[in-house]
């Protein structure tokens, strides 16, 4: 497997996942802003 493909897999599983969780938290926060 090329290292570029490996990099894409690793970054998706870490940065991508963190970004998705932050997006969900912001979305969730808008729905329920009094519950941090």
């Amino acid at each position: 497997m090329s290292w570029i493909l490996s990099m894409i897999i690793c970054l998706s599983l870490t940065w991508g996942a963190a970004g998705f969780v932050i997006y969900k938290m912001i979305q969730n926060g808008k729905k329920n802003s009094s519950n941090p």
Binding site: L13, A18, N28, N35
Partner: protein
Amino acid sequence: MPEKKSAGFNSRLGLMMTLIGGSVGTGNIWRFPRMAALNGGGAFVIALIIASFVVALPILNAEMLLGRATRHSGAGAFRDFIGEKYTWMGTFMVSVCMLITAYYMAILGWVFRYIGMSLTGSYLGKDLALVFDRTVNGNVLTYICFVIPVLVLAVVLYKGIGSIEKVNTVMIPALFLICTILAIRAVTLPGALEGVKYFFNIDWHYLTVPTTWLNALSQCSWSIGPGFCLTLAYAVYTQPKSDLSLNTSLQVFGNQSFAIMAGLMVLPAVFAMAPSTEEAYAACASGNQGLTFITLTGMFQEMPGGRVLSVLFFTGLAFAAFTSAIGMCNVGQTFLMDFGWSRKKAVIGTVAFILAVGTPSALSLRIFNNQDWVWGVALLLSTIFLGFAMNRYGLEKVRITFLNQAENEWKMGRWWNVCAGWVAPIMTAIMILWWMAQSIAWFPDDWWNPANLDGLATVVLQTVLLLLLLWGTNRKIARSIQNKYFNGKDFPEIPEEYR
């Protein structure tokens, strides 16, 4: 009429930054890049992610629900959740966390010294191993640099959770910015591409090697921190309806994202500056302290703009260590407040403990390494205790009642029962046995001798002494913890005394 001060976290951003701050520490910056380099690069990242799913995430969820459901730090949480006779398990978690904090603060002392030395250039042209040795052993200036952050921590803790939020909201974005600048500089060095390739290349063979998995599990336990009690203590200050599963997921993925950033900061630089791949590999094998304070410091000397980069690197390391230390001290402070102590008294008690117990580590690298070894292994027991608590209460009951509440974005399936109740404790037990076996292999002649500060016997002796102390005082501690908020049905409001 002035608005009533919130008892818990004031904003979502503050909560997010505090959870990431607690989870991201020196383990991300100085341990992860080494471990990735030594265990198959991308293969190690994949093993770490899988380990996080089966160990860290389920156990962090357990911690989060325990703190929020009982509104107590470790000891009170175990007392109310599974009964008075198991209070010692929670007290053990708090004790180990505080013992780790005591020596962990010594790192801040070293890092502040290196920021100063980078600014003045006083280590330039010197034997860096000798500089490190003189910095960490019996150095008065280093000791002062250890005491000052402890006092700053006291001020942050005294001002309450709002202050903790503010510090993390400044330091975590600053750490992200610093890591980004350093990673860009590292990957643009001539020859750095080899390091990037080495870091990300997934060598599938490594996933068939047991040590890759054991190292990934160790990294997951020591860096993300399941069983650290830090999440449990922060959970005390979260609102009953805040999303539990998103909070813990952020800790896991936030931690790993910073780890990848640190890998991009360190490995390309090491590969670009080392004369050969073998020497780059040897630098990674030289241990956390060797890589950070000797190899990287030497490389900064040779890079254009190296002194500025060195100041940035050590400042980032200081931010990572400080934000984790805040979370760990919050464990001790909340524990003392559970006994009815005022915030002021609890902060003084926590800080006095750190200064008293951390002083030997701040003055001697041998003692620091001993404490790091002993309490690093003992910490792993906490995951087993949390797994036991979930089993004792009833895994399915916990999952239905506390984890799958309507507010939670992600509902936990039955996989959580399997992982939190069985896989995580069993994997952790295997990890403990592996570290014990390794220590016997390192010192075949005197692993049994407690005077060998790096051997197995010192771990067993110190851990057993702590356990005996906690068993002996279990009833007294359990009965001295005031108030009971746990109702077995839902999460109670944040108690008045935390306001």
